[in-house]
Amino acid sequence: MISFKLTEEQEVVREAMHDFAKSAVRPIARECDEASKLPDAFLVQAAELGLVSTQLPDAFGGGGEPRSPITNAIVAEELAWGDATLAIAMLAPAAFAFAVADQGTEEQKRELLPRFCADVPAAAAIAFVEPGPTFDALLPRCVAEPKGQGFVLSGVKSFVPLGDRASHFLIVARNNGGLDAFIVPREAEGLSVSQPEKNLGLRALSTATLTLERVALPGAARLGGAAGCDVRKLLAHSRAGLASVMVGLSRAVLDYAVPYAKDRVAFDQAIAQKQSIAFRLADMHIETEASRWLTWKAASELEKGGDATRSAHQARSYAAEKSMWISDQGVQVLGGHGFIREHPVEMWYRNARTLGVLEGTVAL
C-alpha cells in the first residue's frame, strides 16, 4: 500500500538527528572545510549516536535492531542538511559494516563487526571509485587474479573516505568476468594509502587514493567467501545513500536561500517578491521533494530486500542533477554573497558538484 508515513521511531530519530546536525554539525562545517580536516573530537561525539552499531547483530555487540534503509535515509538526509562532508564521514564506516553484516561470511562478521560496536568504533570504507576520465561503477579497472587459495589484487582506487584513519577497505574489483569485493586491511603488503587528496569539495573528508600493487589476499578476504558477493546490491545501497545526502544538501540550500531572499531588497521590494526568484525557489522546493520521494522509494525497495538497482539508479541520478542545480541557484539567489566564503552556499555548491561524481562511500 502506498504510504509516505514515517513510523513513530523514525519521527523521533529524525528529530534527534536534526538537532545534532543543527548543534554539532553545521557550526563546525565551515572551519572543517577551510582546514580540510576532520576533528577527532567530532568523530568521538558522533560515535555516541551509535549510527553503525545500533543496526548490527547483538551477537557481535550491536544493538540488534534490523537494518532499516528507510530510517538510514532519513538519518542521512538530516545529517547532510547539517553538512554533507561530515555526514559522509559519520556514515562511511556503516557502509563497510553493513556490507559485511549483509553479505559477509560468519567468519568475516565475527572478525570485523565487533570493531564497529566498540566504544571507539573502527573507521573503514568502501572503495568503489577509480581515477581516470572514464570511470564507470560497473566497469572497474581494478582486477583480482585468483592465485592458489587466494587472490592478487591490482589497480588504483580514489576518493576513499577516511583514508587517513580507516583500518579496513572494501575494494571492488573485476574477478574473472564478474565483480567482487575484497576486504583489505590497511597494512596489507602492496597497498599504499596516499596523503589526503585535494578535491573541489567534501574537503574535510580526507579521502585517499589507494594503490594496489599485486596485493596478495587469502580466499577469506573475498566478501561472502567462496560464494562471493552481489556488488550491484552494494551499489544500490550506496546510490540510495548518496541520494539521501544530496537531498539533505538541497534542503539546506533552500532553507538558507528563502530567508535571505525575503530579507534582501532590490528595486524597492524583497527579491523573493520577484517572480524570477520566487518561482525559482518554488522549483528548488519541488525538486527537493521529488528527489526525496525517489530516494524513499529506493530505500523502501532495499528494505524489502528486492532488487533496487533501478530505483537506486533513478534516485541517485535525479538527486545528483537536482542538488547541483539547486546549489547553483542558491549561489545565484545570494548573488555576490553566494560567491564569498562568509556564507555556506559556495561550499554547498562545491560539495554538490563533488557528490555528483561519487559511488560507494555511504550506504543505507
Partner: protein, 390 residues
C-alpha cells in the same frame, strides 16, 4: 510505514484496467481524426469488462487510500487514451465542485447529471478574480449574464457549474458558483473549439443572456458576500485540491504510454538499457531514455504524495500545486523526448506517440497553468499573501 508497493488487490484492479485501456486505445486514433464525433458511453467490448465499482469491491485497510488509488486509476485509463473509456463514468469537473461545495440537498438533486465547470472568460485566464459574468438576484431567481470559454466537455455535459460575481466591488469575495442545467432559456452553447490535442474531448464556449435560474441553484447556498477577498472564493477553490493531482495523473498516464512505446521500439531494435552503469556505460539514446523514465517516476511520486495527504485528511494545497507544476512540465519533456529518440517514427500518425505529445500539452495549462502552480508553491514556501506575491 513508508511503502511504495501496491497491495495484490490494487495491483489486480490496475492490471485489469490496463487490459481494458489497451482495448479503448484501439479507438483513440479514430476520435482524434474525427473531431466532431463523441466517444460512446460504452465501447462495444464493454460487456466483457466489469465496472470499476465491481472491481473495487472488497478493498480493505491493507490497500492504498481512495485518493491515491483514484490517481493510479486515472493514470491507467489515460495510459490507454485521454478520452475513450470502456465505461464512460458520469461526472465532469462540475460534479467535483458539487461534491466539494454543494449542500446535501443539491448533491442529491443533481447527483445524476454530468456537470461541466465554466470558469474562464475571454478576458481572464488563470485569474478567476477577473470574472465578469454576473448573477443578479431578481425575486426568487438569479439572472446570469456573461461569456465563458474553454469549458471542458461543455457540449456533452447535461449541466454546468458557472462562476459568476454577485458583487464586482467585492472582488474575489463576490464570486459564487451557480448550477445551470442545459436547456435553460438564455443558456447558449456558442461553439466548440478546434484544438491541438484531446480532440475527442469537447471544449465549448458558452453565452448566458438573461439566463434565469432558481435562487436555490447557488452552490452551497451562501448568499452573503464575505469581507476581504476570500470567503466564497475559498469554497470554490476547494474544488481544485484533488483536481490538480487528478489533472497531473491524466497527463502522466499518457507520458507513461509514450515511454512504454519507446522502450518497446528500442528493445526491438536491440538498444539495451543498463540501470547499473553511469554515463560511460551508456549509449546516448539509452541515457536519454533513462532520464525521461526517471522524470516520470519523480512526477508520479509527487502526485501520490498529494493524494496520500488528502487520504489522511491533511491539507494538500501546496502539494497539489507541487505535483501539477512538476508533472505539467514533465509530460511535455517526456513526450518531446520520446519523439526525439524515435525520430521520424515518432512524428508519424501511424503511431500514437505524436498524439500523446499533443494531448498532454493541455495539462500544464488548464486547472491553473504551471506559472500559477509555482505562484501558489512560492507563496506557501515564503509565507506570502496574494498581495505580497503576484
Amino acid at each position: 510505514m513508508i511503502d511504495f508497493e501496491l497491495s495484490a488487490k490494487d495491483r489486480e484492479v490496475l492490471d485489469k484496467l490496463r487490459e481494458e485501456a489497451l482495448v479503448a486505445r484501439r479507438y483513440a486514433r479514430f476520435y482524434d481524426e474525427n473531431e466532431h464525433e463523441f466517444p460512446p458511453d460504452e465501447l462495444p467490448e464493454a460487456a466483457q469488462y466489469p465496472s470499476i465499482f465491481e472491481m473495487m469491491a472488497g478493498r480493505t485497510g491493507e490497500d492504498s487510500g481512495m485518493g491515491v488509488m483514484s490517481m493510479l486509476i486515472t493514470m491507467a485509463q489515460t495510459w490507454g487514451d485521454y478520452s475513450v473509456r470502456m465505461h464512460r463514468g458520469k461526472g465532469g469537473l462540475g460534479n467535483a465542485a458539487l461534491q466539494a461545495a454543494g449542500t446535501p440537498e443539491q448533491k442529491t438533486k443533481w447527483a445524476g447529471l454530468t456537470l461541466a465547470m465554466a470558469i474562464t472568460e475571454p478576458g481572464c485566464g488563470s485569474d478567476p478574480s477577473r470574472v465578469q459574468t454576473t448573477a443578479v438576484l431578481d425575486g426568487d431567481e438569479w439572472v446570469v449574464n456573461g461569456e465563458k470559454i474553454f469549458v471542458t466537455t461543455g457540449c456533452r455535459a447535461e449541466g454546468v457549474v458557472v462562476w459568476a460575481t454577485v458583487d464586482k466591488s467585492a472582488g474575489r469575495g463576490g464570486i459564487k458558483s451557480f448550477l445551470i442545467e442545459k436547456g435553460t432559456p438564455g443558456f447558449i452553447v456558442a461553439h466548440k473549439e478546434k484544438k491541438l490535442g484531446i480532440r475527442a474531448d469537447d471544449t465549448a464556449a458558452y453565452v448566458f443572456k438573461d439566463c434565469r435560474i432558481p435562487r436555490s441553484n447557488l452552490l452551497g447556498g451562501k448568499e452573503d458576500v464575505p469581507k476581504g477577498n476570500s470567503g466564497g472564493f475559498k469554497d470554490v477553490m476547494k474544488t481544485f485540491n484533488m483536481t490538480r493531482p487528478a489533472v497531473s495523473a491524466i497527463g502522466l498516464g499518457m507520458a507513461e504510454a509514450s515511454l512504454d512505446f519507446t522502450r518497446e521500439q528500442l528493445a526491438q531494435s536491440g538498444v539495451a538499457i543498463e540501470y547499473g552503469s553511469g554515463l560511460h556505460g551508456q549509449s546516448a539514446v539509452a541515457e536519454k531514455f533513462l532520464r525521461l523514465e526517471t522524470l516520470y517516476e519523480a512526477a508520479k511520486l509527487t502526485i501520490l504524495r498529494a493524494a496520500w495527504l488528502a487520504d489522511g485528511g491533511k491539507p494538500n494545497n501546496l502539494e497539489s500545486s507541487v505535483c501539477k507544476a512538476k508533472t505539467g512540465a514533465a509530460v511535455r519533456e517526456i513526450t518531446q523526448g520520446c519523439i526525439e529518440i524515435l525520430g521520424p517514427m515518432g512524428v508519424s500518425r501511424d503511431h500514437l506517440l505524436e498524439k500523446w505529445f499533443r494531448d498532454v500539452r493541455i495539462t500544464d495549462i488548464y486547472e491553473g497553468t504551471g506559472e500559477i502552480q509555482r505562484m501558489i508553491t512560492a507563496r506557501a514556501l515564503l509565507g506570502y499573501s496574494r498581495a505580497e506575491l503576484n
